[in-house]
Symmetry: C2
Subunit: 623 residues, 2 copies
């Protein structure tokens, strides 16, 4: 992996930073964040501006270029990769290390007095603008919005913004029509006395209109904004996608509709001017609801007194609570996904001893088996297929340079998932194709105990997910072990594999309480640098729990595993399990047998069925 | 309990609200918060201004008086009491109920346009001022500081501010001299590039100078401020307490000292003008460190650009980590406290069946036994002595109107503690002097399981206490039960029984990580309205834990119980315990026997010793 040569590019960028064609006044620094205009986690190639200017293409990083310097902030996952991918023009700022300055402090230390720091106001979230602007101002500098993205001006072969066809989802998938979603949204708006709601997150637009796209890899979304008034609906979207008769029919664009459900389709690029017009026409007490993570540009379009900002939008919260059609869809998707993984693991078991299966081959094979399933659309994230020491790299993705061959001597960790039209999956299994050591089994069993502690937890209605995080760690902690990531994230329904507002992590406090119908992952792990990685991940559904008593009539919740893939019993040290934990494993495996077994049978996959039956034999009794 | 008649008082207050002798401009509303100028939890009688003006004397509440209205905000603990104690001039604002407006919203709804809202700037914390002021300003009103406290102007028989003699603590109690504490503080100041530190919390002043007082009931503190510079020490304190030769000697007031350790003693009331002088004399980049909970008056004395505000001060954090002398003192204090409680429970066992022991009698008897112990100073909080349904009132304190007689048919809950010169105690035991029902035992055992889950928890260095809270609830949650309070609070060393910056609660996220040497309580409970209350509370010391492995070399922590009072085995349903839990109880009781037994023996308390031996018999094996 040789670094990208950026000398000319930086020279070019520094020229446009002073070019009155692009900037009102010269800017002495220009910030290039990771994100897109929708604060997406996964971005399209045309939005990979930071990778273009620096060469560093990890998922997180912020570049700042001044007349003298070029610096890149990224976190511990990417120190090595960034160092490899960037040339000597760049200084790597290792976030999380004690001596690494913040972006603001660094700017203050290198800039001449009274400098202007430019940033694309569409890319920077309003809350981040506020924080940064305050520090810079107090040091005598100014953060200024630069309307035209300066990277785009020098990126001559920048790919086009994708504009792929849309998929319409009918009621059998969504359970609720887009009209009813608009009605529900307007009632939330009325509750908060808000006249307008601006939908900026791509998955929120997709969910609201029961549409899906493929503009961004892994996330079935499309570039669009929406502005919902009490009597109007405006959808900002480009291309001829709105010419598709199925989409026109779905959105009833050609029907005689009550005016309040008539969708006005407008160009994607007109959101700012339209929103400014909305802002200019507001009467006193008419508020506009935006996510507090919306871009600075859109937030500023609404005068401050009229803004109503919340960390989670009503769509984000409604989207998280899956209805019956969605949970049924998620169940179906997970059964199909389990079929594919039974096939894969059965195949690996036979092929690995031959020494020809690499991490990439295994990942491709997983995709192949998944793509044979009904309604398969694409993967839901880049497959983490890692063996031996690569397993300890938590966000590993095999590439030719690192690609390792699976063997009977190493632990294999596969974290993978797919998008099906009826649901999104995300599952991690850790396997050994030979004989695991006692130590490997011990660690695996602690992780399993943590997984079960969360999955079987019973907790009152209103409990936030972060209060369950320690349950996942307790068995590891008892032995002085731990893992340095959260325990779970929200999962969309044929939508983003990571979604808010719920999750299970020691790091958050602002998560929304868990509710029946929410879907999260349960994925504790243990990683030993240079040796192996262990993670056991199921996607689980929050369901009501039956309890002996019912304090203050609050009701209780628990989880139902949606993922139904055997957990390798060979890796379990049964003597470390309690009776309750052993029963949990046996009941889980019994369910895998019944549900996935029936589907394997139906699909005529007899060899995989035999594998499933063998892998789900009850555990030996605890001694 | 008849309400206080406040018609004349309110008339009088409304007059001074317009009287130019006290206010620059008339104020249309006046806020009377609960606190004192040090944001103390427990306050002196002269600071009970809200109780004086309204009659309501609960520990939490804010009164606001306008020309037309008088309103009182308090929380669910005090709805009944406030309604009883206040006359019809007052409107009770029930905090936590959906329809109750916030103080700001209520003010906006009742005030005429462009009103002034007054408050004593010494009583309102700066962060609260900021929040309130913002809302009022955006509605066209002004929050204004009223220098003279308006309640004091009409409170003709207001008690004097207490000014009791001081206690000096030598190295055998404190482990570190006040000079060394100043040196350590200055080194923290240098680290943060801060030139001045303002000590506003009473327990922080007491800790820093190794002095104690008795100006406030239960908290061995005295009214004072301190301002520490890199070369100066100013102590703001009133009265002839500084004439006491022991105090002069302790503070070396008459010695020839290096100038940087020379304490300048100044009048308590001169803090503001002195701080203003400091503020006026600052050079650029000279910062002044204050708690962000310090009063608005003192915070404003320092120009904004020069303030360095943190939620926890370095003294708060240093004070929380007890040194060897302090932990040894805490251990001694808890042994003495256990002796007193063994005597009490032995006595109760004999007396309760006679039907003559009321909650107040039991509380008095507990105090009597404690006061027989060496270095006893006073109680550390108002004893919660509650039987039957009174036990379900979490912050109950027996008064003649509610005083209930203990019997062999009801559960008795005693939450009590004391200040000894060597340490502070806080212990809750729940007892039955007859035969508990199966249901009572079941609930008690769940609470015990939660207590043990926290006490025996092993967790990595750097873990915050709130991450342990769910361990205390898990057994209750499994059966649909819970309790509506936190699990633990920090405990001072012969200081406040509640102190920051650590604790164990689902409610906080801003707590500081637990460290070896910190002392917290572990007190899960279960309360059934109208029937009974159960709580099991030990004070525990954070200690290093030995673990099999040591991930990333972080080291692990666990707890050592300082409280050594038997947990009533009669209340335990042994079949609900795991083997590990049963062993914990037996080992705990074994330690009570050995440590407290030896002290009972030494003090010749043979009957209580026999009681202890009987109560600490090992549990029957789990069936």
């Amino acid at each position: 992996m040789s670094p990208k040569i950026t000398t000319e590019l930086l020279k070019h960028l520094r020229q446009v930073m002073k070019n009155p064609r692009y900037v009102q006044e010269p800017v002495q620094a220009y910030i290039v964040p990771s994100g897109d205009a929708h604060q997406s986690e996964y971005i399209a190639p045309c939005d990979c501006r930071r990778a273009f200017i620096s060469g560093f293409d990890g998922s997180a990083g912020t570049a700042i270029v001044t007349e003298q310097h070029a610096a890149m902030w990224t976190d511990g996952r990417y120190f090595l990769q960034a160092a490899h991918q960037m040339d000597s023009n760049w200084t790597l700022m290792k976030m999380g290390l004690k001596d690494t300055p913040t972006q603001e402090d660094w700017l203050v230390s290198v800039l001449p007095e009274g400098s202007k720091v430019g940033v694309d106001p569409f890319i920077i979230p309003a809350d981040q603008w506020k924080r940064m602007s305050k520090v810079l101002r107090s040091a005598g500098h100014d953060l200024v919005p630069v309307k035209e993205n300066l990277i785009d001006t020098i990126w001559t072969d920048c790919p086009q913004r994708p504009c792929k066809p849309l998929i319409t989802l009918d009621l059998s998938y969504t359970g609720v029509s887009w009209r009813d979603k608009i009605v529900a949204l307007r009632s939330k708006m009325a509750e908060r006395k808000v006249m307008w709601f601006v939908v900026t997150a791509l998955d929120e637009v997709a969910w609201l209109f029961n549409l899906r796209g493929s503009d961004v890899e892994y996330n079935p979304v499309f570039f669009a904004y929406a502005v919902i008034g009490m009597n109007t609906i405006r959808l900002f979207i480009d291309g001829d996608r709105m010419m598709d008769p199925a989409v026109r029919e779905h959105l009833q664009l050609d029907s005689t509709l009550e005016p309040e459900f008539k969708i006005q389709v407008m160009p994607y690029g007109s959101i700012l001017s339209e929103l400014q017009a909305v802002g200019a026409g507001l009467s006193p007490k008419e508020k506009v609801w935006l996510s507090d993570k919306a871009s600075y540009a859109l937030t500023e379009a609404i005068p401050k007194a009229y803004r109503y900002l919340t960390p989670y939008t009503p769509i984000c919260i409604a989207k998280a609570v899956k209805n019956t059609a969605e949970t049924e869809g998620m169940r179906r998707a997970h059964i199909k996904d389990a079929v594919a993984l039974c096939e894969l693991f059965n195949w690996l078991e036979k092929e690995v001893p031959k020494g020809t299966v690499t991490e990439i081959v295994a990942a491709d094979k997983a995709e192949e088996f998944r793509s044979q399933q009904k309604d398969f659309v694409e993967l839901s994230f880049a497959t983490i297929s890692s063996t031996g020491p690569n397993g300890a790299i938590i966000h590993y993705k095999p590439v030719p340079e690192t690609n390792r061959t699976l063997s009977v001597n190493e632990i294999y960790l596969l974290d993978s998932g797919a998008q099906y039209k009826d649901g999104t999956t995300d599952v991690t299994r850790t396997m050994h194709f030979g004989t695991p050591s006692a130590y490997e089994k011990e660690c695996f069993t602690y992780v399993l105990k943590g997984h079960i502690a969360v999955s079987a937890a019973i907790f009152p209605n209103g409990t936030k997910g972060h209060l369950l995080d320690s349950f996942a760690r307790s068995a590891l902690w008892d032995c002085g072990l731990d893992y340095l990531h959260g325990t779970g994230h929200g999962v969309g329904s044929f939508l983003n594999v990571h979604e808010g507002p719920c999750g299970i992590s020691y790091k958050t406090f602002a998560d929304e309480p868990l509710e029946a119908g929410m879907v999260v992952s349960d994925e504790p792990g243990y990683y030993e640098d240079g040796s192996f990685g262990i993670r056991i991940e199921n996607v689980v559904l929050v369901i009501p729990a039956e309890t002996k008593y019912n304090f203050k009539n609050r009701g209780s919740l628990t989880f139902e595993p949606l993922t139904l893939v055997p957990i390798q019993t060979k890796m379990i040290d049964v003597n470390l399990l309690t009776e309750k934990e052993r029963n949990w494993v046996n009941e889980y495996h019994q369910k895998c047998r019944e549900v996935v077994g029936a589907e394997l049978e139906r699909q005529g996959r007899h060899e995989a069925l035999r594998w499933l039956l063998r892998e789900t034999e009850p555990l030996a009794p605890v001694q």
